[in-house]
Amino acid sequence: MASFSTTATVDDPRILLGDDGIAPPIRGDGGDDGSGPGLPDYATRLRRARLGLLVALTPVLMLFVSFSSAYIVRQGLPTIDPRTNQLVRDWIPVTLPRLLLINTGVLILSSLFMEMARRQIKGQVTLASETSVPGVSAGDQTRIPWLSMTLVLGLVFLFGQWTAWRQLAANGFYVATTPSSSFVYLLTGTHAIHLMGGVLALFIAGIASLLGHSVATRSIVVDVTAWYWHFMAGLWIYILCLLEFAS
């Protein structure tokens, strides 16, 4: 019950090139090395990359679920005051800098720009297949540099987070000042490190463009980066809500 049309039968279990097998078309796997001589078709590569991203986001999610459960548990724990021998709570709520709200707006905007970049390059992939037909032209196109704008906003967000940290420190809240401040630094810091991964992916997409990689390859990088970026934006909103409302 073979499903492929190009099938071949061999009589020996030993499989070697050049027997009576069909010479293979140039295809391949390699979801992460991008530039081999034979790649699978665009749809396969995109599907695989998206699946890989979905799987990769699971442990990130588990990491933050774990931090969240620690946050909730730690919040409710009393400690002994050694001077009075009384049970007291050492959880001093941290007033979050208002800058974080501005940063949130920046990140949401960057997520919108990222989505525009994703749709733009997806359109280019569609156009690339159509303009390959003789006589068909894509016409003049005005391309807004959504990707670069996203990158800039991503860096602005990271700088904003750094500034918020400095404001926290200026208000006397350091990493070990109180468990609540420990969690503020932990959650925002871990999120920032993950977002740096997204910024790095944007750089890679830009470099791929400069190196003249095919639009299909760039499209895949931008597509998975976009979904990752949206996830980071959603995660940030969750973190902000946790810090603001569950404290």
């Binding site: 073979a2 099938t7 295809r27 390699g30 730690r74 420990s182 932990l186």
Partner: protein, 581 residues
Amino acid sequence: MASHEFAAQESHAHEAPQGFIRKWVFSLDHKVIGLQYYFLALAAVFVGMFLSLLMRIHLIWPTATLPLLGDIKPETYLTLVTMHGTIMVFFVLTTAPQGGFGNYFLPIQIGAPDMAFPVLNMLSFWTTFLAFIVMIAAFFVAGGAPLHGWTGYAPLSALQSAGPGEGLGADLWIISIAIFCIGALMGALNFITTTLDMRAKGMTMMRMPLTCWAWFVTAILGLLAFGVLLSAGILLLMDRNLGTSFFVPLVTINGQLTGHKGGSPLLWQHLFWFFGHPEVYIAILPAMGMCSQLLSVFSRKPIFGYKAMVYAILAIGFLGFMVWGHHMFMSGMSPYTAFAFSIMTMAIGVPSAIKTFNWLGTLMRGRIRFASPMLFAIGFVSLFVSGGISGPFLAQPLLDIQLHDTYFVPAHFHLIMGVASIFGIFAATYYWFPKMFGRMMNESMARWHFWFSFIGTYAIFMPMHYLGMAGMPRRYSQLTEVNYLHGLVPLQKFITYAAFITIAGQVIFVVNLFWSMFKGKKASDNPWEATTLEWTTATPPPHDNFGGKTPVVHNGPYEYSVPGAPRDYVMQSDPEIEPAH
């Protein structure tokens, strides 16, 4: 001869590398990466075994001066316990069955040319390798390796001044675990994506060999569990180095307040065991898959209840996340919570029993070929039952309170998680060695190895149950001078002698392994007359696994003794078999 069908290729993006560095060191080929994992685990198991030998020697001759180590102090003994457990759990039991055999054979068994993300695959190995180096480095820093046990319980693990080895050595230990988590997560990502997206035409999920199912579910467990361990490790590092108090309550050391307050040691335990219990299944599930495979091949019978086996693997994986609290019955948890964890733990016995009965059902009336892989597979079943049977005892809070922290516990988990998994690794080694290296292992040496290991394992771990029931506590370095334990010293001596002999038996394996690589009898492409796809390709497999073609699958993985078939096995890529009427 067989007639196999092959489809148009879904082949390699990267060419076969030529230079030594690209071919054998920074290789993208899943087969080479599998071998790298395997040999890393082999190196690690000898380190871990050496440490256990030192422990056993110290337990019965506590005043003996040992070469390299000199006098073993109590804290040195705890260091041995810690590093033995850590190295064995992470770098042997997690690394060899999944990273080693999984990497090598998962793509071939599903008919794929490689893993979905070869570069990530290479990175996952080198990350794991780096983690091992960092772990070993802990022995050589000021203060030495940590002594907080492989479970790293806080606050002992969270305070630099808590004891020798809890300084830089403990930092390295945590960093190593964190690096290992990242490597394991990269590996899991590859396993899941490859299984879901790269199966050959006709290789439906329910036609996958049980090995693939086991690697797949193990990868899911790793994906969910290692992220939590990583988070716990980050919090622990912050407690140790940044002065936070996630896990450290108000404590004093030598009468001095440490500066921490309000943290919860139990929080560490919850986070750790949320990883730690699934880790048991991360170690054992691949061995279950591999032994299921072998029992069918060498009984010349289809696996008994294939679907039930698949559902049992899934159930074990699912329930594995519901039972972490049974490691914490002594922590003062609510009896109602303990009851819930107890019930869930005993519920795991159901899918485990299904698997056991199906293994026995597969053996029943089979035309059994007692080759060395089969001996080890049967040995695995035996150890799994022997080790598993004590599980329901420990799953009951009332009994656990008595048995906790006695030798009964190491006896239980060594049998079921440790040695059973290692028997799975041995079985898989003897089974797949011909495919990996193109030569057969020496059968006589393999049999000697089996009997040394099988009898030796029981000789070591069965008496430990009695030690535990008699009240001998674990983790203490010197118990020979304790009055109420005097009567147990001969038993401890017996265990140490058994350990000597069993470890000596492993030399046979190593000699056989390396000797056979170069001098073993040439292997045919399918020496065991098995049905799965790795046996349809050349030995050793070419760079892209199927020589530029991709198999088309028509049959299930365990078509043995099929009525009307020209021989007693039908390979997965053979023309579809007609159902017998």
